[in-house]
């Protein structure tokens, strides 16, 4: 690629308004409520618009998949971002600042298997390892390593509950909120791995060069979230 391509890839918010990356999906409503309480007018992003960028009073909101938030923030395409702790755990090598636990969007990362079925245990015993389907490869691999067990981690992108039902895996590692989807598919939780909530993250350079703005925004959002 030409240097121009490199240039565009690194173009960032710079000195203008602050850019906040918000996750579409489960954390979107909570993020907007937090911004409401912090005194921002969120009617723009709340409308049914297909726009991805919204100008609030003194703050630009850019919306994206939750798992893309660390990517944009690390590169400086956004100064701040909101995403789940699960996403940060999965992408643990990202060089971003984790500034505040926003408290909302609480859910749990669990190991689950078919209810009243011991195939998970049998695999562990007979084969010495378990086959685990997950969208969270990094979290799953580190968890089994930490707990001294071997697992073949199979990465899937869609409904992970399917995997044990049709024999792709013995169990799954997935994020649960109420646990209803899991129960409806005949799965049960076996072990809790971690608890996840929404986190406020910042770009490394923005954190150093926009000190007053970042600290003021952290304070404002922290209060609004509590």
């Amino acid at each position: 690629m030409s240097p121009a391509g490199v240039e565009i890839a690194h173009r960032r918010a710079r000195d203008g308004r602050m850019r906040l990356a918000l996750p579409r999906g489960a954390l979107f409503a909570g993020s907007l409520s937090m911004l409401d309480r912090a005194g921002f007018d969120t009617s723009g992003p709340r409308g049914g618009s297909r726009s991805l960028i919204f100008d609030l009073d003194g703050l630009t909101i850019v919306t994206m998949r939750p798992s893309d938030v660390p990517t944009y923030v690390e590169a400086g395409a956004a100064d701040l971002g909101v995403t789940g702790k699960d996403v940060l755990d999965e992408q643990s090598d990202r060089a971003v600042y984790e500034l505040a636990d926003l408290g909302f969007g609480r859910c749990r990362m669990v190991l689950a298997a078919i209810a009243d079925d011991d195939s998970l245990e049998r695999s562990a015993k007979r084969l010495g390892f378990m086959r685990i389907a997950t969208k969270y490869r990094g979290i799953a691999e580190r968890y089994f390593e930490r707990t001294g067990r071997q697992a073949e981690v199979i990465e899937v992108k869609g409904s992970v509950e399917l995997a044990p039902l049709v024999g792709l895996a013995d169990g799954i590692v997935d994020l649960v909120d109420s646990g209803r989807t899991m129960r409806e598919n005949g799965l049960e939780e076996r072990e809790q791995i971690s608890i996840s909530t929404a986190r406020l993250i910042a770009n490394r350079v923005a954190h150093k060069l926009r000190v007053d703005e970042i600290d003021a925004m952290v304070e404002r959002l922290r209060e609004a979230a509590s």
Binding site: P3, E7, H10, R14, A75, E98, L99, R199, R204, K208
Partner: protein, 333 residues
Amino acid sequence: MTHPIPQGTRDILPDEMRELRRIEAVLRSLFESRGYGEVSTPAIEFNDVLALGDERSMDSAYRFFDHSGGLLALRGDMTIPIARLAADRLGEASLPYRLHYAGDGFRAVSPQRGQLREFRQVGVELIGADAPGGTVEVVELLVAALDAVGLNRAVVGLGDADLFRQLLEELAVEGAARNRILDRLAAHDLVAIEAEAGDLAGLGDTERELIVRLSSLRGGADVLEEAHRIGGAALERATSRLAETYSKLAESGIADRVQLDFGLLRDLGYYTGAILEVYDPAVGQIIGGGGRYDGLMSRFGRQLPAAGFALYLERVHIAQAEEERIAREGGAG
């Protein structure tokens, strides 16, 4: 049909090459004018020799065997090879050694994040000059280098690799808890630091608050005052070295280009004392780094204090292009 090159590497075409060489030439002539002499070391070294410098950074080294079975590694930065060179080759020269370089480093980092596996660094090493004088010389030269390549808005973050460790020691936070806090600090996870500080037994609220506040305290001379106000004598002891360096930098009139940063830690194992990071408002990633490594030379058999910095050439180039674009468009974009 095109022919692949390894991930994390790239070709450079004439237009960009000309610009990169121009940056190097400007820096080279600045360094030479300040009495620094250029050195070059092999890209491949013996694995064991590089590991003497920093065991941890060898995790990401490229290794292979030579014809007689010796284990070789590509250098991951220029500081360790130059420490070897200075220890083995410069015995007769008078101290301090002032050296500069432009060379490629190789690290097996995860690509697709603007991080290259082969990258060019331009920098200096000042070997045999103690803190704070040596540190001040290096920071002054760094600021001059940034100015010389047109990055007049770039800022040097100045921290101290031992500050947090020393503070935790003063607060009698030891063992596993101390290591967890330092690990979380290196990972920039302020939420976990708050949680860890909350879990510490035997500490008052003021001490907990101090740990949390200090991990994100950064700014000018005012933050030094704030740190002393909230941290008292324990903190004054832990920050005395940083404060001394900063006041000397203020005397040389570059305090506005230096940001004190109490939570700064770098991921390389050999830093002691002052650590540096370079930020430019036009680029979202750090464009350079450095600091003191007073323990490094002794691993190669000579007890000499040392400090230096490296600028990441590709990122400096991106910053320069962005700054020029902003100037052309007359303000923030």
